[in-house]
């Protein structure tokens, strides 16, 4: 297969995007058909490329070592395949869900553009090319969020753009430092020890990666977007594409570009970020009253596991992190899609209004349940496997605190999904919504496919672990370390798994306690925790966006701008407007006063001048 196929992998979705953009809004079905077919073709292409393994394409681009350099190898092929798969599912789903959206033309256009950029980012083998595609995704993200058509959509879109921009600019800085220190931009040629400037480069690039993945503190636009953006966007971007890309890059950073040692400062920083993300986000998720928002906080929380796993820098942890990435993409995508399905039929996602939909929407409920259990890490689903690997990895680093944090996360994850599932699909049928029925097949089908995948990846974890994950780590870890993680993947009988299961039981207990306390209303199940003394205040502050770095950052920017404007720019202008003019006026005024029209005065000057001239000349002659 010619290596130009790589170029076409990127160009094809872009061309499709343009075609879809050009199809007039009035023509029905054509757009959906093209989209589904094209994404199907891409999915097929993904398989094709995955079977190819190694391809590379280099051509001149900007000069100075900035080449148009694409490289397909195992890892990128895997991510590419996953991306194409999710694109296909989203297209399928959107065919019905977004059918009547007023800006449907743009929607598909942006979708495929985003796909194109993502493929580019995955295939890039030159940092500049990478950042080109990487940052370009910001625009599609921005545009897709505005398609939510809510009053606050644009605000959220700007938020995502600025946060993303900040992260990407950090990454540019990191790349720049890396380039300055190594002298090359080819991604497969760089491998440095993270010391000194390189450590700074590591952190900066890491910010770029985890920022894309949505780890704390760069997550705050995601919960907002959950309400303001189309739900299919949530399934598409924060749930799947961005996680895949962000963790892909994080893995590349820690495995390829830098040699991250287990237990080193940088690794610990990464783990702290992971652990903090898990715990803080899950606490936020727990108390949410909106289905989509709850899911969005989980989308943040789960990133913590991936970051934590990769941060352990221990093969099993890394593998767990990467595996968790793909697992998370599947079940979170499924969860968002099922929330979309509920929204599609009922028009709302508020937990309070929903209830007992399982009978009317059985397939959605089924899909949701499987995915929810997977995310909670219930045996034998995929979430269980990857989380166990992360726990193992975290424990092996010798800092059990991180494992504990991860377990705390597991407790509340399950608790919140119990709450969500209980409120939406089970329990008594809500009276606030009219009778409804199951969504159309194109909506349900993707959910079910994802649910099935969750089960498959859990039960037959050998398949993903051996075909996808293991080759990534080959050659990247010290010799002799076992790379077969399947042995204890579904092992229930070890202390780690025991603790995990204990966590699930605690979660169950918490839920039912809260449910009872809340007058048997499932959506109030989290209230006991919400109302705990200190937590309550923290929750309130966080509702007021006190902890939102973006809000604080914006305030800082506004403050800084005012300072710059009032204390630097205006004073400079004052010099031109007032100081210069008034100095001129003063001198002129003084001189003008001297010219009072008196002849005697004038004559005096003349004579005085003469005397001075004579005196000077005589002085000079001496």
């Amino acid at each position: 297969m010619s290596s130009t196929i790589l170029l076409w992998t990127i160009l094809f979705p872009a061309v499709v995007a343009i075609i879809l953009f050009l199809i007039p809004g009035r023509i029905k079905f054509l757009r959906e058909i093209i989209a589904v077919l094209a994404s199907g073709a891409l999915f097929y292409l993904g398989f094709l490329l995955f079977s190819q393994k190694n391809l590379s394409l280099v051509s001149d681009w900007l000069g100075m070592g900035i080449n148009f350099d694409l490289r397909l190898y195992h890892f990128s092929a895997f991510i590419l395949l996953a991306l194409a798969g999710f694109l296909f599912l989203i297209c399928l789903y959107s065919a019905v869900k977004m059918q009547n959206h007023p800006r449907i033309r743009e929607y598909y256009g942006y979708l495929f553009l985003a796909a194109s950029f993502s493929f580019g980012a995955v295939l890039a083998n030159n940092f500049i090319l990478l950042i080109f595609f990487w940052e370009a995704l910001l625009i599609t993200t921005y545009a897709l969020i505005t398609l939510g058509l809510k009053a606050t959509s644009h605000r959220t879109a700007v938020k995502s753009l600025i946060i993303g921009g900040f992260c990407d600019f950090s990454m540019i800085m990191g790349i720049g430092l890396l380039w300055a220190s190594t002298g090359t931009l080819a991604m497969d040629k760089i491998q440095v020890e993270p010391h000194g400037l390189a450590a700074a480069a590591f952190i900066l690039m890491m910010i770029g990666a985890i920022g894309k993945a949505g780890a704390m503190p760069f997550h705050t636009w995601i919960p907002d977007a959950a309400l303001d953006a189309p739900v299919s966007f949530m399934a598409f971007m924060p749930a799947s594409f961005e996680k895949l890309l962000g963790i892909y890059l994080l893995a590349r950073i820690t495995l390829d570009f830098f040699t991250l040692r287990a237990g080193s400062t940088l690794a610990i920083i990464l783990m702290i970020i992971g652990a903090a993300t898990i715990v803080l986000a899950v606490f936020m998720a727990l108390i949410q009253k909106d289905f989509k928002k709850l899911l969005s906080f989980h989308a943040v929380s789960q990133v913590g596991y991936m970051v934590l796993g990769i941060g352990t820098a221990i093969p099993i942890g890394i593998a767990g992190g990467i595996f968790h990435m793909i697992n998370h993409a599947m079940y979170k995508c499924g969860l968002f899609l099922s929330s979309g399905s509920v929204e599609h039929r009922t028009g709302t996602t508020e937990l309070k209004k929903l209830g007992g939909l399982a009978r009317e929407m059985p397939w959605t409920a089924l899909g949701f349940s499987v995915c929810a259990l997977a995310i909670s890490g219930v045996w034998p689903l995929n979430g269980f496997v990857s989380k166990e690997m992360v726990f193992h990895g975290a424990l092996e680093t010798g800092y059990p605190i991180f494992a504990i944090a991860a377990w705390v996360g597991a407790i509340f994850t399950f608790a919140s999904f119990l709450k969500a599932g209980h409120s939406v699909f089970f329990g008594p049928r809500s009276t606030e919504i009219p009778k409804t029925k199951e969504s159309e097949a194109p909506i349900v089908l993707p959910i079910l496919i994802l649910a099935v995948l969750c089960i498959t990846f859990g039960v037959y974890n050998k398949l993903p672990l051996q075909t996808f994950i293991q080759p990534i780590l080959e050659g990247k870890v010290e010799a002799g370390v076992p790379l077969d993680f399947t042995s204890h993947a579904l092992d229930l009988f070890n202390p780690v798994a025991g603790v995990s299961i204990l966590c699930l039981i605690i979660a169950l207990g918490l839920h039912f306690y809260g449910w009872n306390r809340g007058g048997r209303k499932a959506y109030l199940a989290s209230e006991p925790i919400h109302n705990l003394p200190v937590l309550r205040q923290l929750y309130d502050l966080s509702e007021a966006r006190f902890f939102d770095l973006y809000e604080q950052g914006v305030k800082f920017l506004q403050w800084l701008s005012k300072v710059l404007f009032r204390f630097i720019d205006r004073p400079i202008d004052y010099i031109y407007e007032k100081v210069v003019v008034s100095i001129g006026r003063t001198f002129t005024g003084l001189l003008q006063k001297a010219h009072n029209g008196q002849y005697a005065n004038y004559l005096a000057w003349t004579i005085g001048g003469l005397v001075a001239v004579v005196w000077i000349i005589l002085e000079l002659l001496k």
Partner: protein, 492 residues
Amino acid sequence: MVFSFIVIPLLVAAFLPLIGKISKKLLPDVLTNAALAFLLFNSILLVKPIFTNGFIIQNLSWLGEKVNLQIALDGFSLFMLFTISLVSLCVSLFSIDYLEHYGHKANFYALFLVMIAAMNGLVLVPDLFSVYLFMEVAAVASYALVAFGLGSDELEASYKYLMLSVVASAFVLLSITVIFGLTGNLSFQAVAQGLQDLNARIVLGVCVAFFIMGFGLKAALIPFHAWLPDAHPSAPAPISAMLSGLLIKVSGIYALFRILYSVIGLSPALSRLLMALGIISVLVAALLALGQKDIKRMLAYSSISQVGYIVLGLALGTPLGIAGGLFHLFNHATAKGLLFLNSGSIQHITGTRNLDELGGLGKKVPITSGTNLVGALSIAGVPPLAGFWSKLIIIIALVQAKAFGYALVAILASILTLWYYLLIQRKAFFGQVREKWQQVREAPFWMSAANIILALICLLVGIFFTPVYKTWISPAAEALARGIHQVLMWGL
């Protein structure tokens, strides 16, 4: 041929009052302009002989007997003659329409021609006392011309002018007398020769000081400038143009530097003193101009400032400095002539010269506005107009002579210059038309024509500065740079 520069205007002037009885307007207009056009033509014809010979000496014989009527023409004088003829022709063209409401054109033209004859004479004579005499002739004519409007302001200004001018003349005369006493001669060549052999530095120094004061007053160098801001604005616009454009240069700068360079010889000490005077004038007058409300007063102060530049260049004494000073003299003559004529147009159009009352004329009187812009930018030294090149040359010369401080002040003053010219532009032309001036119409034909000619000169000299420089400036500068050798080789 050279003699015609003095005789023709004098003759015409003598007969004009009589002719004025016959024809009040047409004949005086035609005669004056024809005479001046002839002079201009004449001066252009003289370029070639000067180029080949370097100088021309002419003695007039009368009835076969050689009378002691001698004139000397070199590059410097020719340059001045050309400038005088050019600007005065434009001024007289302008006067055709402008003088309509003053009346008595014949008288006006007669005085005007006397003044020109005197200036031409001053430029041509190789004799100290004759210089003084012609200076006085020009001055007398100018006193009357300043007061030509007969308003009380005009008379007061003219009186002040006269009173200060007389002081200057007295000192010039005194100095000439002393030099005569020292050398026993008055012709440039003999005096130059005589002074070389003489060791009387102190006395000579005082003489030079008197010259500086006397001619400096004529040239309106600060602190001898006070008469100018009253006199120049009071005169009718064409006369303001003549005074600012030519008279201060001829009877001030030409006389001073001709004597200093060609007769006495410029010592470094003197050069420093004059440069200091020049730079003070540049700066102080620029600041003064900034505060003026009356267009012509502002222009008058601007003249002082620009004379400062000219003196700065000439006093520097390097060939480049002299060239720059002379070039600026020419450019200032044309541009300031233009601006004063232009102020006349404004007064003709609106009846006022007060900047605060004017506004937005640009749309109504495009020619006046456009030509004013050209003149202003030229004086301010904005390329590609002529004034830019001369200022550039002066500043280059200053930097080459390591006079960085002077260069810096000269540069900064040119910002001030632009500032006050922009004030004129803004308040008079470049803005919204005031209700009051909705009905105004463009100045009459000849006024506009004179403006356009001068504006074109400013522009074209800027664009084709090389030929102008080579034809006019460079021979003049060489003549001055040769110092006293220039007059010694005349062989009178």
